[in-house]
Symmetry: C2
Subunit: 397 residues, 2 copies
C-alpha cells in the first residue's frame, strides 16, 4: 500500500526526533538537562488550574466554532491592554497556535502558492505547509547580525505571482529576535505594494527583555486588510497542554472564511478555553516576574555562550531561545555525542540542532538552538557541561 507523497515527504520533527537518544541516556542512569524543547518550567498560574477544579457543567459540550464568547471578550480586553483595539468578530479561538497557523495558510494561499518566511524559522511551519500544500520560500538571516530582518530588496527579489504572504515570528522562535516597529513598517510597505498578507506569529509577545516594547502586526496603521496575527497561551501561561490559541484579523472577509474552516472541526477544547480565560485576569506582576526571570536566564546563557571561544551569537531580546553558531561542523553529531558519549558526574545536556529550522539545504549545520526553560541553578550546571562537552568534542572530532 502506497502512502501519499506528502506523507512520505513530511518532515520529522527535528526537535523530537532525537528524543530516543535522550531516553536511552536516561535508561543508563544519566540525568539530561533539556534545552532542546520549548516547554516552560514556570508553574502554570493556580488561577488557571482552579478552573479545571471548578468545572461543574453536567455535559462537557461543544462550544461555538469561533470560541466561547466569554473568552473572546476577555481576549478583546487582553489586546486592548496592549494597545490593539479589537471586537470579538476579529478573533477566532483555535486549538493552539498550530491550528491558527494552519488556518492562516489555508485562507491566504492555494495549493502551490508561496509564503516567504525569514529563516531559521519555527520548524513546524514546514509540517503545516505540507498539510496545506503551501510552498515556504525562505529568506536567510544570520547569527552574526542577530538574525536581523533582511532589506526590502531581498524580499522583493523573491516575490512571484504565486506569493501570497510573508510570515514572521516576532519575537522569533528559534532566534529570539525582536523586530522593531521600523522593521514591521518595512514589511508592511512591501505587503501593500505587492498585495500580500503579513502573517505574524506572536506567541512569544510577552517575552521581551531589556525594557523593549513589542510591536504587533495589528498595530501597523492602515494595514488592517493585510494583517493576520497568530497567538497562543501555551508559552506565556506555561500552559502548553491546554492547546488554546487564536487567529486575529480585522479583515472581516478573511475572518468569515476562517470561520468556515473552524466550523468543520467544530470547536477548540471547552474547559481549556475557560482555563485560558482566567489567565487574562492575572495581575501585572505575573508577567513582570516571569519576564524578569527569563531575562536573567537569557543573560546567564548568553554570557556563558559568548565566553566560549569560537561561538558566534548576538544577545537576543525576546522569546526564550538563543541560536549559537558553533566552531564545529555538525551540530547534530555533537548533540548525539553529548547524549551517547559524554557526561559530568552522571549528567549531560541536550540542545536542538538548528539545521531543521532552515529550509535552505545545508544551512544551520553548525548551529544549535538552546531553550532557557530551566531554573538558573540547573542552567548554570547545564552550561558548564555544555562548555566542557564542546571542548572535549573538538579534541576528538
Amino acid at each position: 500500500m502506497n502512502l501519499s507523497l506528502r506523507a512520505q515527504n513530511v518532515q520529522a520533527s527535528p526537535i523530537r526526533k532525537l528524543m530516543p537518544y535522550a531516553l536511552a541516556a536516561k535508561a543508563r542512569g544519566i540525568k539530561v538537562y533539556h534545552l532542546n524543547i520549548g516547554q516552560p518550567d514556570i508553574p502554570t498560574p493556580p488561577e488557571m488550574i482552579k478552573v479545571f477544579h471548578d468545572f461543574s457543567d453536567e455535559v462537557l459540550a461543544y462550544g461555538p466554532s469561533q470560541g466561547l464568547e466569554v473568552y473572546q471578550k476577555s481576549l478583546v480586553r487582553y489586546y486592548a491592554k496592549h494597545g490593539v483595539d479589537l471586537t470579538t468578530n476579529d478573533i477566532i479561538v483555535t486549538t493552539a497556535g498550530s491550528e491558527a497557523i494552519t488556518f492562516a495558510m489555508l485562507v491566504v494561499a492555494n495549493e502551490g502558492d508561496e509564503i516567504i518566511v525569514p529563516e531559521p524559522f519555527y520548524t513546524n511551519y514546514n509540517g503545516f505547509a505540507t498539510m496545506t500544500s503551501v510552498n515556504l520560500k525562505p529568506i536567510t538571516t544570520h547569527a552574526k547580525d542577530g538574525f536581523a530582518l533582511p532589506e526590502a530588496a531581498a524580499f522583493e527579489s523573491m516575490i512571484t505571482p504565486k506569493t501570497k504572504a510573508i510570515m514572521i515570528c516576532n519575537p522569533g522562535n528559534p532566534t529570539g529576535t525582536v523586530y522593531a516597529k521600523e522593521e514591521l513598517m518595512r514589511l508592511a510597505e512591501i505587503c501593500k505594494k505587492h498585495n500580500l498578507f503579513l502573517i505574524s506569529d506572536e506567541v512569544y509577545r510577552e517575552f521581551i527583555y531589556d525594557g523593549l516594547k513589542h510591536s504587533s502586526v495589528l498595530s501597523i496603521p492602515d494595514f488592517e486588510e493585510h494583517a493576520i496575527m497568530v497567538d497562543s497561551v501555551s508559552k506565556r501561561y506555561s500552559a502548553c497542554g491546554a492547546r488554546i490559541g487564536c487567529i486575529v484579523s480585522k479583515n472581516q472577509e478573511l475572518m468569515q472564511a476562517t470561520l468556515k474552516f473552524a466550523q468543520a472541526r467544530l470547536c477548540p477544547p471547552t474547559v481549556d478555553q475557560l482555563a485560558a480565560n482566567a489567565c487574562v485576569y492575572l495581575t501585572d506582576d505575573y508577567f513582570e516576574q516571569m519576564v524578569s526571570e527569563y531575562q536573567s536566564r537569557r543573560d546567564l546563557v548568553f554570557d556563558e555562550l559568548s565566553s566560549i571561544e569560537g561561538i558566534i551569537c548576538k544577545k537576543p531580546a525576546g522569546a526564550f531561545y538563543i541560536i549559537a553558531n558553533l566552531p564545529i561542523e555538525d551540530a547534530e553529531d555533537f548533540v548525539l555525542w553529548m547524549l551517547n558519549d559524554f557526561q559530568i558526574d552522571g549528567e549531560t545536556v541536550m540542545a536542538a540542532p538548528a539545521e531543521g529550522f532552515y529550509a535552505t539545504s545545508g544551512l544551520g549545520r553548525n548551529e544549535l538552538r538552546l531553550a532557557y526553560i530551566l531554573n538558573k541553578e540547573d542552567l548554570k550546571k547545564a552550561m558548564h557541561i555544555f562548555r566542557e562537552g564542546l571542548k572535549e568534542y573538538k579534541k576528538t572530532h
Copy 2:
C-alpha cells in the same frame, strides 16, 4: 486582498448556518427543541469530570505527539474488549475525530486524489477534504432502502487511477445505518482488488440497537494494511467539548507517517486526555443504560415519523440520527418556516436540512436529519410540533 480559492469555496456548515434563525426565535421568546445538532444531552460521566477536579500537575505541559502513554494503553484495553487486538504503536491520539479524519486524508491521498464516500455523509468531511485538497466522490444511497451499502459494481465503476481510499461512517451520521459484517467484507474485497485504503469513521461504534453487534474495519481478517479507523470520545461519553479522538491502524508505515503530521501540531489537550482515560474504566452498565435510552428514543422518533403521511424512512439501527424524506419540496425552507413562522404554545422545533450531507447537487432537498438527543418527554413534544408544523406548512406551500 484576495483570499485563496479554497477559502472562498469551503462549505459553510449546513448544521450551524441556520443557528441565527434559532437565536432570533429565542429572542422572540420561543422555545426551540434542537434536533439539528449531535450534541448529546446525557450527563458526562462524573468519573470523567472528577479528573478535571483532581488535576494537580504544577505545569500543564505538552504531552507526547502520539498521545499520553497511559491513555494509549487504556485504549488498547478498550478495543480488546471489542475483540480488536492492538498495541500502543497502532494508536495515535488526536484532537477529536476531526483531526483524525484530516490525518487519514493527508496520509492516503495527494492533492487532487479521490476518496469515494457513500452519500449522504457527515457534512464536515467536505471541510476536511477542502483543507487537504482531496476530492470526495459520492456514491448515492437512498432513504427508501435504509441507505444500504451499494453493490460492488457501483463502487468499482467510480474507481480511477486517482482513487486512494473508500471512506465510510459506521454507524452512519447522518443515516443511522449500521453496516453488517458482509457489507464490510464486500468493501474489503474491493479495496484489496484495487489497492485502496478503507477509512472507517466509527465514532458512533457504541450506539448500536436491537441487540446487533458492531463490526469494526479493524476486525476484517487479512486487511491490516488497508484498514484505518477513526474514533472519538465525544459522543459515547457525552464529551464533545473534550476534543479527544484517535486514529488507529496496524499499518505501521502509515502510523509512522501520521506521527510526523502529529508532531507538527505537538499534542492533543493534556487534561482532556486524562479525563477520557478515566472513561475507559466505566462499568458495562454505563453503555447498557445509554444504549437502552437512545434505542427507546429512536423508537419514539421513528414511530412518530413513520405515522406521518408521505414521510419515507427506514428504522436505523445505530448512531442517534434519522433521515426523513418529506412530502415537500424544500426542507431548508420548512426548517426556516418552523423557526420564523410556526409555534405551538410558544414552542417550535429545529432539524438539519439533509441537502448539505449530499455531495451530488440537488439531492436531499426534501430530506431532514433529526438527532434524538433530547429526553423522551421533550422528544414527544418536539415530534408533536413537527407533525403539526408539517401539516400546516403543506397547506400553505
